[in-house]
Amino acid sequence: MTSRRIIFIAGSAIYLTSAAPSPRVDDAALMADAPAKDFAEYGLFLDAAMSKPAPRVVKYGLNTPLFSDHADKARYIYVPDGTALSYDGEGLLAFPVGSAMVKHFGFTRADGSLDMIETRLLVKKADGWAAYPYVWDAGDTAAALKKVGAKVQVAGRDDAGAPIALDWRVPNVNQCKGCHAVDGELMPIGPKARNLNGMFEGETNLSRLASLGMLTGVPADVPAMPSWDDETASIEGRARAYLDVNCGHCHNPAGPASNSGMFLTWETPEGANLGINKGPVAAGRGSGGRRVGIAPGKPDHSILLFRMESTEPGVMMPELARTQRHDRGVELVRQWIAGIE
């Protein structure tokens, strides 16, 4: 049967699609108690390489992304028909039940395609978010559920173009929560309005989602967090954005590192809870013999920088999902601390 659908979007554009049958995301598979064993079962993409998103699956970018051992990522948001995201302040967007988020991890090949390592899926079910890791086979033909995580040898290039090889750790479902927890409940991290509020592939993420009818309630002026590598922005803004994205998901009053009393979110005012002149609590040898989290003007006396520079388990921060040192991130935070009076 051939179907012809006319979709009106924001009253301004008319798209005509012709398909047989029209592809759609398998909402039942997403909402099922047990996750699909093969990522393809969700129907979130039109192609086997999972690069052409299905309708209502929208690619987005972040002003400042999490550092993930120099891997490249592709991110997508899915919102079911008849529902929409809603703006809820500069933080996380509000997601309707049935939403999903997809993040591919890989290293970009010479032809621009992604040599896939893993794909992580976040699904908002009636009782909250669930997270599932999928690991790609060597030929990138399929991604299989791997609840227990995996260790994969990968090779790629760092952000200076130098070749790197590493043992990539796919998190297990508990480790997902090691970062994605707010008061013990699994939550998305990335799609905060301030971090989405930037240009991505020719348009801002927020206006793209809104024009597709997938996001409502966006006010005229949304705060924006700078891109960590935007040299026209202030060092402080860039460093605080970097810390928010790379540390703030744990280091916040409701996060997995709440007990540290060190909060590295964008909202944290400058003071003891940002780590300034604050002694460690449970750092152990992670303190590196340094006495405070952030010593104003003295990066090399700051525990924060010591732990960012380390790649040693038990010392390095973040604890999960990093085996490489991010030199440019370290340098940015170093400059910021050096300039604090």
Partner: protein
């Protein structure tokens, strides 16, 4: 892919929601994945059984399912070795409720051995956490580390060679730590920013300091109070401090029995202390600057009574200790209190007369404000006999895991 087997009887009953399963696991090259998968797939009521043997693990394990028991065949038989650990901050992380951990050892983790966060009704029983190389600044910080948790029972276990505290309970409420052996750690047992703790029947020896009760500023939970330390044997805590500088325990002098810092309503009784060369009992304020409006840095409402305190204080390792001992006839008395009755919050001086009760020889340093230099002390023997009500015994819930397996020991008093 998976090598665990589900007990046959339980499998037949798998359709029944109440059928508890046992995941039997034996050592193998895939132990990391096998154990972790069991910890993920277990359901409330299930047991993850780790058979005797040594499990070589290279990444942290984690449990986020309520009502699970992780059971080994004994702390000298079932050994989880993290000598080759390359990821995660701890050996085992527990983030769920009503969990019993019993009968296994965790060795040589790169960070903490077992951490629990936000857990309720968690029992550590008959476990061992050890760094097999002995005291070393590169060892993990804590052996058993419940934080932001409630109803914590830690019993019949052993912790050896932590670079911070062997048993550390932080920002938690309703805590029983009993009948453990802690040795060669910087601190044997530490109760920090926590409320309602009973610490009894423990044997703390050859640590830098035996048992600490602290409170620190700038944490989500401040204002620790109501801890009872009784019936413990705290002897020969003579290991040089090997903590990383910057950590609060790096300031614990070698040879300390019990230390109370910035905490309230701490009762120390019926303990035996001997061979603690700096001091048997030290009661002090927090010494560093702070601005936290919620925080009181003074030690207050501390009772020391009916302890047996043998030789101690004969070689004090804290700043000014030697001169103080000399001035007091050669040794620090059984109890040393900083005697401060005021503190600074930012630039504001706040006066508060701390109440104390000591039945043993005690010296007060009479510091003008908490944190003042010991060199400026005006020491005098202290006769403190305030009437300070003892906290009620800590009552754990009836369904505390592991409570029915072992009869609760009679409390001596």
């Amino acid at each position: 892919m998976t090598t665990y087997q589900i007990a046959a009887a339980a499998l037949l009953l798998a359709a029944t929601p109440l059928a508890a399963k046992t995941f039997h696991i034996t050592p193998s090259d895939e132990a990391q994945e096998t154990i972790q998968l069991a910890l993920i797939e277990a359901e409330p009521g299930d047991v993850v059984h780790l058979s005797a043997g040594t499990y070589a693990l290279d990444d942290g394990l984690s449990l986020d399912v309520d009502g699970v028991t992780v059971r080994g065949d004994g702390p000298d038989a079932t050994i989880l070795s993290f000598k080759g650990q390359t990821g995660a901050g701890e050996g085992l992380l527990v983030t769920s409720d009503r969990v019993l951990l019993t009968g296994f050892a965790i060795e040589d983790t790169r960070g903490d051995a077992i951490k629990a966060k936000g857990s309720d009704r968690l029992t550590f029983d008959n476990l061992r956490a050890e760094w097999t190389n002995g005291p070393d600044a590169k060892n993990g910080a804590y052996g058993f580390y419940p934080v932001e948790s409630t109803n914590i029972l830690i019993q019949n276990s052993e912790v050896i060679a932590c670079s911070d505290a062997g048993i550390y309970v932080g920002q938690s409420d309703n805590i029983v730590v009993r009948n453990n052996r802690v040795h060669q750690n910087v601190a044997g047992i530490e109760i920090e920013n926590s409320t309602h703790a009973d610490v009894y029947g423990n044997f703390a020896f050859h640590n830098t300091g035996g048992i600490l009760v602290f409170d620190l500023p700038d944490l989500p939970m401040v204002g620790g109070h109501s801890t009872r330390i009784y019936d413990n044997v705290i002897v020969n805590n003579d290991t040089p401090n090997f903590a990383s500088p910057g950590n609060i325990v790096a300031g614990v002098p070698q040879g300390l029995g019990i230390m109370v810092m910035a905490n309230r309503n701490v009762h120390i009784f019926n303990n035996f202390l001997d061979g603690n060369s700096s001091a048997h009992v030290m009661i002090v304020g927090y010494t560093q600057e702070f601005t936290d409006e919620r925080y009181n840095p003074l030690a207050r409402d501390v009772v020391v009574r009916d302890n047996v305190m043998a030789r101690g204080g004969y070689d004090p390792k804290f700043d000014g200790g030697a001169a103080l001992a000399a001035a007091l006839g050669g040794a620090i008395p059984d109890v040393m209190w900083d005697g401060s009755a005021a503190f600074m919050r930012g630039d504001a001086k706040i006066e508060e007369a701390a109440r104390m009760s000591f039945d043993a020889p005690a010296v007060s340093l009479n510091l003008a404000v908490a944190g003042a230099d010991v060199a400026d002390a005006q020491p005098s023997m202290a006769s403190a006999r305030a009437s300070i009500a003892e906290p009620a015994p800590v009552m754990l819930p009836e369904d505390q895991p592991g409570m029915t397996a072992k009869p609760q020991l009679a409390m001596a008093d």
